[in-house]
């Protein structure tokens, strides 16, 4: 049976349909989850998609973190449920303290949408197992607050534990420390990514198909893990 991957829609989520399309293209079954519903409907993994939850006026992800669905996501993540936060989803994961550090205003103060070169730094997560070691990929970035910051102790730990999932190469689009584009929790089931793999699943509408492997990876991971 195909894995069921939940895609959460918060008020202001924008890339939820694109994330669902990516799951489908990778061979999974997308399941729509609603912010106000604490029930995860037995999904095997969860994607927190990009967008501007609640407008992101105060601080990106600050309000979404309190949505009923997040309570369930946080506890399920503790039990090893694979969770991928993309852009706004990454911000929500940091605000929820599922991931360390914070995403702050881009150094140049502009929203920036460009096709970005990345290096996948670890295949030891639920969402990157399908990549070749140190794979170079092209995936769009589009954010105004994508500059990753954390204190030096945290950064050292992320480096030492190989929890930096992807790094910007050929130019850092927002000033992120250590060129960080994505990180994982220590268990590797929770991953936050600033770039948008769901926008790189079809050459007709994106710069590449490189993003597909994130979604294919979690499906492979799920097959490997007994239900």
């Amino acid at each position: 049976m195909t894995a069921r991957v939940g895609v959460v829609t918060f008020p202001g989520s924008l890339d939820d349909r694109d994330a669902a399309r990516a799951v489908r293209r990778a061979g999974g079954e997308p399941v729509a989850l609603w912010h106000a519903d604490g029930d995860l409907h037995g999904v095997d993994a969860v994607v927190l998609p990009g967008g501007f939850s609640y407008g992101d006026y105060l601080r990106c992800g600050a309000i979404a973190r309190f949505a009923p669905v997040m309570g369930s996501v946080i506890s399920a993540a503790g039990d090893g449920l694979p969770v991928l936060g993309i852009c706004n989803g990454f911000q929500i994961l940091c605000e929820s303290h599922l991931l360390p550090g914070a995403l702050t205003r881009n150094r140049h103060l502009h929203f920036r949408n460009r096709d970005q070169r990345l290096r996948v730094e670890t295949t030891a997560t639920a969402w990157t197992g399908g990549f070749a070691e140190r794979a170079l990929i092209t995936v769009p970035v589009k954010n105004g607050e994508g500059c990753y910051v954390a204190d030096s102790a945290t950064l050292q730990r992320l480096e030492a534990d190989r929890r930096i999932v992807a790094r910007y190469v050929e130019g850092n689009p927002n000033g992120s420390l250590h060129d960080i584009a994505g990180i994982a929790n220590d268990r590797g089931n929770v991953v936050g990514l600033m770039p948008h793999p769901e926008h790189a699943v079809d050459p007709l509408t994106g710069p590449s198909e490189d993003g597909l492997a994130f979604f294919a990876s979690v499906l492979r991971h799920l097959v490997g893990t007994p239900a």
Binding site: Y54, G55, Y57, L58, I63, F66, A67
Partner: protein, 77 residues
């Protein structure tokens, strides 16, 4: 070293989407009894010489705030 603080708030009649989003979120956090939330800017300017209020006021008026939609106050600290 002198410090000047400029406080900028949207005019009362102007919509404050950020404040509105916060006050709407509060009940779901179990916080009741809040009638309004307004979110503005607090700008802290350090001068190496004496605090220059007029200059700070000029900065606020020309660079930090748009008098069409915002009010501001300037204080030495």
């Amino acid at each position: 070293m002198a410090r000047v603080v400029v406080e900028i708030m949207l005019k009362p009649e102007i919509l404050d989407p950020a404040g509105q989003a916060v006050s709407r979120a509060l009940p779901s956090m179990g916080v009741e009894g809040v009638t309004s939330v307004r979110i503005g800017k607090r700008v802290v300017i350090d001068f190496d010489g004496a605090p220059d209020l007029d200059r700070a006021r000029e900065i606020a008026d020309r660079l930090l705030a748009n008098p069409v939609i915002e009010d501001f106050t300037v204080q030495v600290q």
